[in-house]
Symmetry: C2
């Protein structure tokens, strides 16, 4: 952890605290991550996270907000591309491939999102602001690609998120017991193919 930054820069410190907190909250959970550990990993003192963010709870909320904002910023343009491609060519499989591939890749890049969302779900969404909890970009793309078919759109949305989310969420238990690693490139490629197959068949039938 190189300390080669300008000695005092509130913006840099804030970001490094958020990075450290994201890592520790997602790996150890809220209670077992301490402010001292977060400070140490960020290269600052115990008291600075509270000084900047107001307290442990507020810091946790800030981590979540940053992750969710980043998710939408990353997925929105890709989902829009998938929609445009589908509406221009009518090729449902190609559109699904683009969408699912982007989604799974993002989740693999930012595993903290999967872990923190899983923790929020189990803790009754204590720290989550009201509003949609899954990506609105992915949701609207699925809606457009599904078309006006009679299929239950909510079920389809739950299934899509479940298929992409679950392997990463349960990587340390179910996947590990199977000798698979959801973070590996091989597994991700096989998973993408499988998910696209599933969704394509479901949509074709409706």
């Amino acid at each position: 952890m190189p300390r080669s930054r300008r000695r005092r820069d509130a913006d840099v410190s804030r970001r490094e605290i958020l990075d450290a907190a994201e890592e520790l909250f997602s790996q150890r959970g809220y209670e077992r991550a301490t402010l001292s550990q977060i400070g140490r990993r960020a290269g600052v003192s115990t008291g600075l996270p509270t000084y900047f963010f107001g307290g442990k709870d507020a810091l946790y909320r800030a981590v979540l907000e940053r992750l969710i904002a980043e998710r939408e910023a990353r997925l929105e343009p890709l989902a829009a591309r998938a929609i445009r491609s589908f509406e221009r060519t009518g090729d449902r499989r190609a559109a699904l491939e683009l969408l699912i591939s982007s989604y799974i890749d993002f989740l693999r890049e930012r595993p903290a999102l999967v872990r923190l969302m899983g923790r929020e779900a189990l803790d009754g969404a204590r720290h989550l602001a009201p509003g949609p909890r899954h990506s609105v970009a992915v949701a609207s793309a699925i809606e457009r690609i599904a078309g006006a078919g009679g299929a239950d759109l909510d079920q389809l949305m739950i299934t899509t998120v479940a298929l992409c989310f679950f392997p990463l969420e349960h990587n340390d238990t179910m996947l590990a017991a199977m000798g698979r690693d959801a973070m590996s490139d091989e597994f991700a490629a096989a998973r993408k193919r499988h998910v696209v197959d599933v969704l394509e068949r479901v949509l074709a039938a409706s």
Copy 2:
């Protein structure tokens, strides 16, 4: 919480402590459930859980073991019935309906299993014994019903568990934001139909 039992009965006390611990661990998580709360809910003192189980960690492990044993005891005969039915009649959809319906119903009856497994997955399976982490009964039934088709069996297994598990796991976040309740009878019925549709189509194509 009626206190009408024989004044001293270790077996009853053990069971009531396990019940209380299952409830509190699954709802609040390991760290936020205290031994005093567990004792109070079980109608015993602060010290008794440790006296019987050796400590908080060991109590948590005992809760998990009991849940997993109960899962297998409940699902094994139903999965066997599904396999027999499929091998006698060749009716894949009927077999899937029986299997998926049993699985989802069990998860709804014992939501603590879903919650605790979710927590274990996020905490690196700290308290879980080695070995398979999903129901071996459901797994073997899926294997038999899928037949020797070329489909990737691991992917199919992950998908099956994900489709049934995920709505309950994320009931407080994603489902709540959609205005759905995974514990309700209507949602469960719709979900069962959807999951069977998905699996049937995937298997039919392979």
